[in-house]
Amino acid sequence: MSGVRVLVGTRKGAFILTSDAKRERWDISGPHFAGWEIYHLKGSPADPNRLYASQTSGWFGQIIQRSDDGGKTWHQPGTPPGEPTTTPEGMPKGESNKFVYDTSAETGKPLTTHQWYDGTPHPWEFKRVWHLEPSLTDPDTVYAGVEDAALFRSTDGGQSWQELSGLRGHGSGPHWQPGAGGMCLHTILLDPKNSNRIFIAISSAGAFRTDDAGKTWQPINRGLHSLYIPNPTAEVGHCVHRIAMNRSRPGVLFMQKHWDVMRSDDAGESWHEISGDLPTDFGFAIDVHAHEPDTIYVVPIKSDSEHFPPDGKLRVYRSRTGGNEWEPLTKGLPQNDCYVNVLRDAMAIDSLDKCGIYFGTTGGQVYASADAGDSWAPIVRDLPAVVSVEVQTLP
């Protein structure tokens, strides 16, 4: 019988929530990596037992964890469970937490500077992995979006990482600037119909696309309008919070920007606003129905700076028309005195029929809907603050 596995990253560890296809009763495992910030976990579409996790700490830096058994056991790639961590010669088998910007003469780009918050030049410094995106076809290939913004790829199951430096080396790099959360590459979308095409998004640089598997990149921000930057229609500098697509229609993209919900029908070449009748067009998360490519979900958040739901009501908004007309989904969600946030990587959608929607809050709740958003119930209520939510639909 099919089922789902929900992967939850929190400020103090990871949790794995599993259920059968009814999605009514849940088994909870965790905390895994207790005490560490887990920015993101994600499973391989090619092998659902292969999971990757970004474990990080302001004190001790970055760790990459991998599971080959669906999250029952974990190890740092290069060090299989129960085996020595070094070769007979004493060398480490993998340096899975070594993320070094590529400055080589052959493939690298000079490590110049980006802009600091005050506009002064600031050197590029690796801080953490925000997002891990496993390949659609190869369990050993995985992409990592990092802070300070860059894209890395591993082709050996996370044992070693190489930067796709054409992105950071794009001519606009010295003008990129951090958002409030840091200068992070937080979104990676792999085109299921074109293996050479990848979309990424950076706060606060904007969205970029490659059509040659990561060698070269172009900014795809035409149509974005951001009043908080000196030139509201600049080529780069937009605070894109999240991009989403439906796998059956990868040329159509939906974006939650710092302000404005946007849509592109030409793979990012141009964008138009679809905020319509939302109570506020600020937010972080956005996702698309698994089977209805014009049904999209956002969680409107009050801003600037408040970052909680308007009127203390936690409402997911759904558009069945590809934007502009939105309906609030409230059944089972708190409709008074709710002041949590839903972060950019904290919403996910399974591919069962009816498809399930999941999101986590900074208050530690993970809510699930087994009917495409019509009704909701908490899976758990009292986790640490939720940073990320992913879901796997299991055979």
């Binding site: 207790a34 005490g35 560490w36 700490s57 302001g58 004190w59 001790f60 830096g61 970055q62 760790i63 740092q76 060090t79 961590t85 070094t86 004493g90 480490p92 088998k93 340096e95 937490n97 070594k98 070094v100």
Partner: protein, 98 residues
């Protein structure tokens, strides 16, 4: 035998309880102790010192014999009490906030 104490996060990562005991060849310095530690526990590479620059991470501190050694040059000899194993070399996570 050199005794090293690790903060809880790193003990968990290295899967050790209590102190770590290391054999260090040659002069006993911050660098030689950390080299020996990372050789035995490669999962700690990058968590105490930066992978590339080998500089101490900003929120990690080194103490021994009641002294803060965090800002000592990495090749300076550690106190005799550390060298003889009567006192541990302490790796501590800095307290930054409450």
């Amino acid at each position: 035998m050199i005794r090293v104490t690790l903060p809880p996060h790193l003990r968990k990562l290295a899967q050790v309880d209590g102190e770590v005991k290391l054999d260090v060849e040659g002069r006993v310095t911050q660098r030689s102790v950390l080299d020996a530690l990372e050789t035995r526990y490669p999962m700690l590479r990058g968590t105490i010192r930066d992978h590339v620059t080998q500089r101490r991470r900003a929120f990690v501190r080194f103490f021994a014999c009641g002294e803060d050694l965090s800002h000592e040059p990495p090749d300076s000899p550690l106190p005799d009490a550390v060298t003889t194993g009567s006192q541990p070399f302490m790796i501590v996570g800095a307290i930054a906030g409450g």
